[in-house]
Symmetry: C2
Subunit: 417 residues, 2 copies
């Protein structure tokens, strides 16, 4: 794109197939190849809750990229600790790709506990109640230390029901913060970030995981820097969304995200925004829909041109006893499963469904056993990641329209008795 003002991107991006607005692409980072549409499991505090990295890497899940939350990691263990441990990859032992959010959304969601000014956001830590301050510059510094392949601009989110005026104020602020994020990011990438371990700049770190995945030999020669994505805001107002997109693209990022959805607005409003924005997003850059959503949401957003997703649903709902299946949601607490010897999902081939019954997992849940969360999270992630794999295959074989219809029909067909 001629509008890109950044130096050569640290991501290589290639569109392999399209069907309507849906696209199958290959996104290559310093730490492995990511085929899109892709679902990124959320690793809030440096762990996808309950999952060992070996599970995330196993053929069942084969997660190529996971998220870390700047807000959480900044507060605990703190950026000095992560810096001393050589960045986030090395700290957690993950050798594949990472994406860090900017902390903007998390701080925003603190509600009454935060105060937003032009400079940034003041808030109270949920860990120890101390007064903290996050700004575009600080977020970029923290994210540079974390060293993810993809960093996010620091943004402000507006509520789903924000008025046009409120949404414009918020969007304008986000755009000014986007410009500052970009400036700070470019400066940080240009300078060395010496680390105590003496391994040179953040970007050259390799994680400690010895069993981890991608053969480094396959990696293309990408610039040794992070990528930065800009975030499109504007609440439910389509004119603001279009303006936000245009002005964000003018600043120029390595990829673009739609933020501020799934924050209380109705489902059709979310789909209207995606339908309005996604096709207008730069075709030669990854398109990321933040914090969304259910399996249906993913399919519908892919149909509108989205490449990347993250969401806590498979992990959080798993911990709360909910399984996602090919025939809809299953609440393992339900007494009907007491002696049900079927797997969570008859159509699923994950290691949990190959081995464990609903009766057993219900027993674990009712007994407060950790293994209930572990097994439900594993299955749910397997279900989300397998769905995306099937989506990619469908687009590549020009069968996505058919897949979308069948998948959705089955989802709504209800669980067998």
């Amino acid at each position: 794109m001629s509008s890109l003002k950044s130096p050569a991107s640290s991501l290589s991006f290639e569109i392999n197939a399209t069907e309507g607005a849906a696209r199958a692409t290959t996104l290559t980072t310093r730490r492995g190849v990511i085929e899109t549409p892709v679902f990124m499991p959320v690793g809030t505090a440096g762990t996808v809750k309950g999952m060992r990295l070996e599970e995330l890497e196993s053929p069942d899940l084969d997660a190529r990229i996971i998220l870390g939350n700047t807000y959480h990691l900044w507060l605990r263990p703190g950026i000095e600790t992560i810096k001393e441990c050589g960045g986030l990859h090395k700290f957690i032992g993950w050798d594949r790709a990472l994406l860090t959010d900017s902390g903007g959304f998390q701080v925003w969601s603190l509600g009454a506990l935060r105060k937003i000014t032009e400079e940034g956001t003041a808030f109270r830590s949920h860990v120890d109640g101390s007064l903290c301050f996050l700004s575009p510059e600080i977020s970029m510094e923290v994210q540079a230390v974390l060293g993810a392949e993809i960093a996010m601009a620091f943004d402000e989110c507006a509520p789903g029901e924000a008025s046009h005026d409120e949404a414009r104020r918020s969007m304008d602020l986000t755009l000014r913060w986007a410009q500052r994020s970009k400036g700070a990011f470019d400066n940080l990438q240009a300078e060395f970030l010496p680390l105590p371990s003496g391994e040179g700049q953040t970007g050259s770190l390799r994680a400690a995981g010895r069993d981890a995945g991608e053969p480094q030999a396959e990696m293309p020669a990408l610039p040794d820097r992070q990528a930065l994505f800009g975030i499109i805001q504007g609440a439910s107002h389509l004119d603001l969304r279009r303006e936000s997109l245009e002005r964000t693209v003018e600043i120029g990022f390595d990829g673009y995200a739609i933020g501020g959805l799934s924050v209380g607005e109705e489902k059709h409003v979310m789909m209207d925004v995606i339908e309005e924005v996604a096709p207008r997003m730069p075709a030669d850059r990854p398109r990321y829909l933040m914090g969304v959503g259910t399996p249906e949401d993913l399919i519908e957003a892919v149909a509108r041109g989205i490449d990347m997703f993250d969401c806590v649903l498979p992990t959080r709902n798993g911990r709360n006893g909910q399984a996602f299946t090919s025939r809809g949601k299953l609440n393992i607490k339900n007494a009907r499963y007491t002696t049900d010897q079927n797997p969570l999902d008859q159509a699923c081939n994950c290691s949990v469904c190959r081995r464990h019954s609903r009766a057993y997992i219900r027993h674990l849940y009712q007994s407060g056993e950790m293994l209930a969360s572990i097994l439900l999270t594993h299955h749910n992630l397997a279900f989300f990641l397998d769905t995306m794999k099937r989506v990619r295959q469908a687009i590549r074989s020009d069968q996505f329209a058919h897949f979308r219809r069948e998948y959705t029909e089955q989802l709504n067909s209800g669980l067998e008795a």
Copy 2:
């Protein structure tokens, strides 16, 4: 042994090597070969807390037998549920060997909540407060449905500091219960226990786990029944312990356990009892020390002739932030580990120590992340199971005395700064 009145044992037992009182044996069950001395991870409610079965089966741990608790499983999910699901192996998806305790110790440890009579023990359920009753006959019935390779006689435990009179009363009761356990067990094994699944008697069930271990072809033709172990009581009184042993052997069991230790008595008292009892236990039967202990305890008990162990220390202490290492215990909560990039144990080669630092695991623990428990439990079990593997190798190569000295010295050498 001529004193064995039971039909051909469902265990095959062979002594491979001895060094002093220590012995390396092979115990073969319908569900796999167990080399002893062996440590059995505790799977209280049908799960070794935080561990997937795949981890227990992995080369790191390679647990050949795990425990289930009759008391816990009886109360929840209840024996009807497990029966309908085809027994404990099938219910939890484990195809290797299982041992179930009798519930005697667990009910005893309820303290004020239980009342012991000649007939059995009345107690209040910790799950829903309902009044329950457990007796030798009921325990045998429940254990027959659970279908473990090894069941335990229903016993009564005396406190560590019990007087001679108290200990004798308790021991006499345990002996009467042992006789009743044996009678009920033999009747149950003789009759068919038809199951809803139509798979015939309990003993012929195969677990559902499709990836599980032992090739069935290697299994010897063992009788299709469970084994029953008797339990020696007598608190700290050596004369009572000897009498308990003699009279338990007269009843005749497939193996013998020392119960009532590690219940508040001093360490040297425990070792005195083991030293008195173990060498007198039938040499051609497995010797099992129940609920013990630390790595030092295991080594010392092996030196006195014990073959089998179970203990919650590696799992429970793991969940509480404690790692067992070759140089003693490590408390991950300690601030000194905040940026410590060493593994939990420099001498350990488990998947946790190969990949994760103390700093990361400390962060997980401080953040209340499940993964802290998972990683600490995995490492601790790997440490205990690896210790036993080294013990077996040492005995087989006549190096156990040397191993015992070196291992203990290192344990007490303290953690590196």
